[in-house]
């Protein structure tokens, strides 16, 4: 028993601040807890009321759909494919090119989330650099954050997050045995076929865990969208974290906001469980 004593402080901290809130989420989502008023002083147990209300709430349906669009568009397609493309194109290039291109991509990733959001905000604003470039090319500009808010936040997240996939794939590709690639080349396979038939099958486990990780990182994105569009205009870019924030802290309905959070937590939980399972061989 003495052997597990060093584990105690970590278990206590995790118990209070991680397991506690998760259990508290389940409890709160069955109550009408509010930030102020009578329901704040003595919240009532309301059973499945929050969930019945959610099913009929068009705002929730909208948020679930936008979260799927945001996650698939910016992470699964955007970051994943662009990161893979960069890793492939940079493989075997000169050191200078690798560090120049890689450095710029990583810089966008190292920035704190808020600073990345400000940079994109300035870039896509009506008075921003993108419109200046379009103007110079003789093309009409527009206020991208207002006319195309989802495209704007998806692009912002691709810009910010691609480095993670790129670094992951660069590390994985350096482990692909070079004699396999050379043998394929001897047999007359071009670069595309070598990638498809040799590289990709070798790194497929990395692709899976990368997809799971970036999905988990993306469904919870808050600050980036909050700065760029605040979920608007209207509800045009209101993903689940932004809806949850609005319900809980703007409309002051903690119970209902928590029920929304529970949806996010359950979706995240499923992906996290799959992720943990894919790495189970390392649980020695």
């Amino acid at each position: 028993m003495k052997r597990v004593v060093p584990l105690v402080p970590a278990v206590v901290l995790l118990g209070i601040f991680l397991v506690g809130p998760v259990l508290w989420t389940v409890y709160l989502s069955f109550t009408n807890t509010a930030l102020s008023g009578a329901a704040a002083r003595s919240p009532q147990f309301t059973g499945l009321d929050n969930f019945a209300r959610m099913i009929e709430d068009p705002a929730l349906l909208n948020a679930v759909w936008l979260t799927v669009v945001f996650t698939v568009g910016s992470a699964v397609i955007g970051q994943n494919c662009l990161g893979m493309l960069l890793a492939v194109l940079l493989a075997g290039r000169s050191r200078l090119l690798r560090s120049a291109v890689g450095g710029v991509v990583v810089a966008a990733w190292v920035l704190p989330e808020l600073v990345a959001a400000f940079a994109i905000y300035a870039f896509l604003n009506a008075d921003g650099s993108l419109n200046a470039v379009l103007d110079w090319l003789g093309l009409p500009g527009q206020n991208w954050l207002y006319t195309a808010p989802m495209a704007a936040v998806v692009l912002a997240n691709v810009w910010r997050g691609t480095a993670f996939s790129m670094l992951t794939y660069q590390a994985a590709m350096s482990d692909v045995p070079s004699d396999l690639l050379e043998a394929a080349q001897m047999d007359g396979a071009g670069p595309l076929r070598r990638f498809w038939h040799v590289t990709l099958p070798t790194i497929r486990r990395t692709v899976l865990s990368n997809l799971l990780l970036i999905t988990l990182q993306t469904i919870g994105v808050f600050a980036l969208i909050y700065v760029l569009t605040a979920g608007g205009p209207g509800e045009a870019s209101q993903t689940l974290p932004l809806l949850m924030y609005e319900q809980a802290f703007v409309f002051r309905e903690i119970g209902y906001g928590t029920a929304t959070a529970l949806v996010l937590l359950l979706v995240g939980g499923v992906f996290a469980a799959v992720y943990a399972r894919t790495l189970r061989e390392e649980l020695r």
Partner: protein, 276 residues
């Protein structure tokens, strides 16, 4: 490798694509730099119309910039110290002993590294109200440490597994206890690894906006993440220069730490143990 005309065209094309991608990635970043030194900065990237240090001097004000930077240092630094300490302690039995619950425990730790923490922020707020921890910097620090702890435990255990057991056995023979050999033999050998865990926790706590934004109310206690956001909210048309300068000030510690650690460990340090 033989350089055929076709190959040269292909290489040229690849360089063109890479150049275009780098340009697109660099474009939004450039504004931060040009606007920060331009005393008449707008939202466009352009050569500074009126270069000067006024923007930076404006945000080096105690209440605007310096106090939030100090608060951020306290919160993120404290979270990093707590997280590294608890992770090092927890990793020891997980790395050295055969325990019945080890696999399920590590499974839960790994599962927790993936959970989106945004989802629990509303209940955490409500829980902090119940525990009277709202507006407490120490409570916020503990929460930030707890959110990083699963990843810290996972990474630390990975580093500890690489420290050979034989070195420790020598200490045991000399009569040292498990904790003594941890402190005197194992930890000194894995200092680079521990510093990576610490830097990682610091960077993620420093960059976290949502946690202090919901859990702290008093502007005097807010870290730089919230300070720079509040500045963004107040910023009128004429304040974009100071906003960019504040952003750079807020980014500097993270960038510095990243460069130090990545130079020592080859750039992919945050991936150690997470993706195989």
């Amino acid at each position: 490798m033989i350089s055929t005309p076709r190959r040269r065209v292909a290489t040229g094309f690849v360089h063109l694509v890479l150049g275009a991608i780098a340009l697109v990635f660099a474009a939004p970043l450039l504004w931060l730099v040009t606007a920060a030194v331009d005393e008449k900065a707008g939202l466009r990237t352009e050569l500074p119309e009126q270069p000067g240090p006024a923007n930076l001097l404006a945000v080096l004000d105690w209440e605007v910039g310096l106090l939030p930077m100090l608060n951020g240092l306290l919160l993120a630094g404290g979270a990093a110290v707590i997280s590294v300490t608890l992770a090092a302690l927890a990793a020891y039995p997980l790395s050295r002993y055969q325990l019945r619950f080890k696999r399920p425990f590590l499974y839960v730790v790994l599962f927790a590294t993936g959970l989106p923490m945004t989802a629990v922020m509303v209940p955490v707020y409500s829980m902090f109200v119940q525990l009277d921890l709202i507006d407490s910097m120490f409570g916020t620090m503990l929460f930030l440490a707890a959110t990083s702890l699963p990843y810290a435990i996972w990474m630390t255990k990975g580093f500890m597994d690489n420290v050979p057991l034989s070195l420790e056995e020598a200490a045991w023979v000399d009569g040292a206890s498990g904790m003594q050999s941890l402190r005197q033999v194992v930890l000194p050998l894995m200092l680079p690894g521990l510093s990576v865990v610490g830097v990682f926790t610091f960077i993620s706590a420093w960059g976290n906006f949502f946690v202090p934004f919901t859990l702290l109310l008093d502007p005097e206690k807010q870290p730089a993440a919230v300070g720079v956001f509040a500045f963004f909210g107040r910023a009128g048309l004429e304040s974009y220069g100071p906003l960019a300068a504040y952003s750079l000030l807020y980014t500097a510690p993270v960038l510095g730490l990243y460069l130090i650690v990545s130079r020592r460990l080859g750039g992919t340090f945050t991936l150690a143990g997470a993706v195989k």
